[in-house]
């Protein structure tokens, strides 16, 4: 009889758990419907589109074709149909990778000391400094890009100052260069570097730093051997958070690159505008998405390993 009642009660508990799970799904479903309709679902449709044939004036014809994917990397000569590597695309991929990398490195070089600075402020003023970092994050990316443009254009404040100081006689052409794009991306994504690095830094136990100094480490040594290894998860997170949106950037290169210095984002847009090659645009998008996913996966694997090290 005792066994019987135990079975009843565990049935009771399992039923309660099932009810909770059902409730959880019911609560989450409306959000999931919207997300499937307007975020995940369209990605699948786009994947399908990348295997269709381009229509003559935009759109597609519903016939299977790998031409879109083919064109991502290769170009077919219009006249004699010879196949060659798509130099134009490759140089755009290369620019995207290079500028994203440089942006990440610059943001880290600026963001790490800033995060450290905030983390070593007295507790009372730390929130204020942090707030100062988040305000630009809350403001429009387009506006911040405009602001950078105001600063670096030929009649902008930098050139004006340099010329009136007599350092240069002609304005330096900064706008509409790769440098402008890199600068702009660093500027708009810098908070994304500072915040996660700070989050790690805030948890740093400064007694460990003291221990480092106690054991004859110099400031540089303490930085390299104690502080950086301990805040590495934050650094990795910050780098990922800067690298991924840089790779897919669209607004910044469009505004600061002046339509000549394209990145992948602009190349994709072109296929839905003047280029009118939807399958190629879809394939390029999926390609970009895959690269981003690989970066994210590496990050997740890395952070899990870091967790394991901490745990063992």
């Amino acid at each position: 009889m005792a066994d019987n009642s135990q079975r009843n009660d565990s049935v009771f508990e399992a039923a309660a758990h099932r009810a909770r799970v059902r409730r959880n799904w019911l609560l989450s479903t409306p959000a999931l419907i919207i997300l499937v309709l307007a975020a995940s679902g369209p990605l699948l449709v786009m994947l399908a589109y990348s295997f269709l044939q381009a229509g003559d004036y935009g759109g597609v014809e519903y016939r299977f074709s790998t031409e879109g994917w083919f064109q991502v990397f290769l170009a077919r000569d219009i006249f004699d149909d010879t196949v060659s590597v798509a130099d134009a695309h490759l140089s755009i991929f290369w620019r995207s990778a290079r500028l994203s990398f440089l942006t990440t490195v610059t943001a880290l070089a600026l963001g790490f000391p800033t995060a450290y600075f905030i983390a070593t402020r007295p507790r009372s003023s730390r929130n204020l400094w942090l707030f100062l970092v988040t305000v630009p994050f809350w403001t429009n990316l387009l506006i911040r890009t405009f602001a950078i443009m105001e600063v670096i254009k030929n009649q902008g404040i930098v050139n004006t100052l340099l010329m009136s100081a007599g350092v240069i006689s002609e304005p330096i052409q900064m706008l509409y260069t790769d440098f402008a794009i890199m600068l702009g991306m660093t500027y708009v994504y810098l908070p994304l570097m500072i915040l996660p690095v700070y989050a790690s830094m805030e948890k740093l136990d400064f007694r460990l730093v003291e221990a480092g100094y106690d054991l004859y480490a110099t400031r540089i040594k303490v930085l390299w051997r104690v502080i950086i290894p301990l805040v590495k998860p934050g650094i990795v997170a910050g780098c990922i958070l800067v690298f991924i949106p840089s790779l897919g950037a669209y607004v910044t290169p469009r505004v600061l690159g002046g339509g000549r210095n394209l990145m992948i984002g602009n190349l994709i847009e072109l296929q839905f505008g003047q280029g009118s090659n939807w399958p190629l645009g879809a394939a390029l998008s999926i390609f970009l998405l895959l690269v981003v996913m690989v970066a994210l996966l590496l990050y997740v694997r890395n952070s899990q390993k870091a967790n394991n090290i901490v745990r063992h």
Partner: protein, 362 residues
């Protein structure tokens, strides 16, 4: 205090997790808690006392067995249908409500009228002497005051049983002493059954009408504080409550309610109650304060070598090694005139007071 049973716990077990990860928190616990008594569940952390409290409150359901409140089974009622209230260890005061709103919450949920709620809240505020702070937010009052609000909130709906989950553990020593007296006063004034959970044996002994000592999911002994202290039934209880010397003795003779034993020294001694033993050996416990030192070898029950003399204000503790290698502690009260009568290195006789030998069941 009447003798009718308030909470009856019948063969309750609670297992968390499944299969290989299963952990038994309570193992076939049966208890009767009488109406209007101050009952304490005492035990070390992880002994299942809090789980038992949560089962009574309705936050957990028993895996086996059932719980009755005044003869009616309540095991499967949700907490909000049980006339039982809890004072949480963390107090769990609603931070977005004032003191008065917190106290009135239960009444409001029970659908009491505004006037009744207001008057009961006022009554409760008076009861815990918090009238002046009725409109404060709960994060603006001290820990001791929060404690009173938590009490008032749980008492306001006039529950049949009040459950208290280590409510004093967050308070400092002085406040805790004050609240112990306060709790007893509230219990006397309201006449509500209190079930109190603590790991502090002193708190349990001073406050309870009766207590249950728990260990590893089992109830080891139930009784009045004096009974539990003077006559621990098992080794764990003797050890957990107060200091104890443990010895092995040989069984000489069992009478109806007394047992004659032979100590390791060969001296005979008698103990209350009947011992059960298979191989003629029994385990006994002797409280250190029920022993004294002597130079008279004939009067001594035991003899040993003093290793250490520790002075602690009111008492002096003598740490002694018996010839068989067992350690034994004798505690004597210090009086003004006594000097350093015994010193480490000496050999001393130990006298056990009559009735001080307690036979353990394990």
């Amino acid at each position: 205090m009447s003798d009718s049973v308030s909470v009856a716990i019948h063969g309750v077990s609670k297992v968390f997790g499944h299969d290989r990860n299963a952990v038994t928190a309570l193992d076939d616990v049966s208890l009767d808690i009488r109406e209007g008594e101050f009952f304490t569940l005492l035990g070390p952390s992880g002994c299942g006392k809090t789980t038992l409290l949560r089962l009574i409150a309705g936050f957990e359901h028993p895996t086996r067995g059932h719980i009755d409140l005044h003869g009616e089974e309540i095991s499967h009622l949700p907490p909000y249908r049980r006339p039982v209230n809890t004072v949480f260890q963390s107090y769990a005061l609603f931070p977005h409500m004032t003191v008065a709103e917190n106290i009135g919450f239960g009444l409001e949920m029970q659908g009491k009228s505004k006037e009744e709620t207001t008057s009961t809240v006022g009554e409760m505020l008076r009861l815990v002497q918090m009238e002046d702070l009725a409109d404060r937010r709960t994060d603006q009052i001290s820990g001791g005051q929060q404690q009173r609000v938590a009490l008032a909130r749980a008492l306001a709906p006039r529950p049949r049983v009040l459950l208290l989950d280590e409510p004093l553990s967050a308070l400092d020593y002085k406040l805790r002493k004050g609240m112990q007296i306060e709790l007893k006063r509230l219990q006397n004034e309201t006449g509500i059954t209190f079930i109190f959970v603590t790991h502090d044996q002193e708190e349990a002994l001073t406050m309870s009408d009766r207590l249950a000592v728990m260990s590893q999911g089992k109830v080891l002994q139930v009784g009045a504080p004096r009974e539990i202290y003077a006559h621990p039934a098992v080794r764990f209880v003797a050890d957990f409550i107060g200091d104890t010397n443990f010895l092995d003795a040989e069984l000489l003779e069992i009478e109806r309610d007394r047992t004659e034993l032979k100590l390791p020294s060969g001296k005979p001694v008698s103990a209350r109650g009947a011992a059960r033993s298979v191989d003629g050996k029994v385990h006994i416990a002797v409280r250190p304060e029920q022993t004294t030192l002597t130079r008279d070898a004939d009067a001594a029950h035991l003899e040993g070598h003093i290793d250490n003399v520790v002075y602690s204000g009111t008492d002096t503790h003598y740490h002694i090694t018996l010839p068989g290698g067992e350690s034994f502690v004798v505690r004597t009260q210090n009086r003004g005139d006594s000097g350093d009568e015994w010193q480490a290195g000496q050999t001393a006789g130990i006298v056990i007071e009559p009735g001080a030998v307690q036979i353990l069941a394990d």
